[in-house]
């Protein structure tokens, strides 16, 4: 049997108060369950999305590094490094948020995702096609990585919220509600017991009074 709420008086007033609490707990429990279910739906939607995005990011990063190695093999490691230093760092990531049942998840948007040859900033006469290809592939990989970051941080935030909501639902289901029910049952039993006691007391008083009356008349 569940534990009772401590220091509770077995009175009718207390019983009424507890009944109100039971009703409220049940409604709150239902609401939280709905929230948890909706969050789980969202979580699985994003998880499904994440699988594809992770694969795509890994593939594009792999392609980019192969392109880089090819560029290094034709121009030399030092030259490619030099070209890299000349590249303008103009990629900006805009961060906005969207709300999923109160959980703020980031929405990342990369500005100027694909740059033209001129926008990249390195000298075209000193480099070759392989360098351009590597730069292009890295830009693609960057977009995929940003997308992956958005999805993975959403998963993390949602899973934290699910955990908290689940804990609340379980606390209501396994601790609060059984405790309230047990206390209501205990008060009911005590009130019944008190009623029986009173009834018995009255009966005894009545019998003793009757006996006294009988003695007086005799």
């Amino acid at each position: 049997m569940a534990e009772l709420i401590e220091s509770v008086n077995p009175t009718r007033m207390e019983l009424l108060k507890l009944k109100t609490k039971v009703k409220l707990a049940k409604k709150g429990h239902r609401l939280l369950k709905e929230k948890r279910d909706a969050l789980i739906v969202e979580f699985f939607n994003i998880l499904e999305e994440a699988r594809g995005i992770r694969r795509r990011a890994e593939r594009s990063l792999g392609d980019a590094f192969i392109a880089l190695i090819l560029a290094q093999s034709t121009l030399g490691v030092l030259k490619v490094k030099e070209v890299g230093l000349a590249v303008k760092e103009t990629h900006e990531v805009n961060t906005v948020t969207r709300s999923i049942m109160g959980v703020r998840v980031p929405v990342l948007e990369i500005e100027n995702e694909k740059r033209t040859l001129m926008e990249r900033g390195y000298s075209l006469s000193d480099t070759n096609y392989m360098v351009d290809e590597a730069a292009k592939k890295f830009e693609e990989a960057l977009a995929a990585v940003v997308e992956l970051a958005e999805v993975e941080s959403s998963i993390k935030l949602l899973s934290q919220e699910i955990k908290v909501t689940k804990r609340r639902v379980n606390a209501l289901e396994n601790i609060v509600m059984p405790r309230l029910d047990a206390t209501v049952k205990y008060i009911r039993m005590r009130l019944d017991e008190m009623e029986r006691e009173n009834f018995f007391k009255l009966k005894r008083i009545k019998t003793s009074q009757e006996r006294k009356e009988a003695e007086a008349t005799a």
Binding site: T20, K23, L24, K27, G28, R30, L31, K33, E34, K35, D37, A38, V41, E42, F44, N45, V96, T97, R98, S99, I100, M101, G102, V103, R104, V107
Partner: protein, 136 residues
């Protein structure tokens, strides 16, 4: 309103703080560079432009001035049953029914959990969950 209802409505208010303070019409959002609404918790919620364009394609031009965004997916298990949600509004119902390829008439439509998943997948920023409860 008795004590339970008061407490419950307060709880609902705090659980629905992610809802928009004021909805905006589709036509206005399409014109904005960064379409957004202010939420009850004071934060900004941004809409995805691609989603807005998708909705605009699904609706006739005259409904662009009627449809208020975000669309609310109303959850109330005690009233509609577990896993069932309601979408209200003529234009809202039109959008949802076209996305789900499901017949719907009037200003009210009930959708079920697998359908909710599809809707949320297609319209993650233009739809929002709304928790409701039957008072009394």
């Amino acid at each position: 309103m008795d004590r339970i209802d008061r407490l419950l409505s307060r709880q609902l208010q705090s659980m629905n703080r992610h809802l928009a303070k004021e909805k905006k019409v589709l036509e206005q959002l399409l014109k904005e560079e960064k379409p957004e609404v202010i939420l009850h918790d004071g934060m900004l919620h941004f809409f995805n432009k691609k989603e807005l364009e998708l909705i605009a394609r699904l609706l006739p031009e005259e409904n662009h001035r009627i449809l208020m965004l975000p669309i609310y997916i109303e959850l109330n298990s005690s009233k509609f049953g577990k896993g069932t949600a309601r979408v209200c509004g003529i234009s809202e119902v039109m959008v949802i029914s076209k996305l789900l390829d499901k017949k719907a008439e009037g200003d009210e439509m009930f959708i079920y959990r697998p359908e909710i998943r599809i809707i949320r997948k297609k319209l993650p920023t233009t739809t929002q969950y709304m928790l409701t409860a039957t008072l009394g």
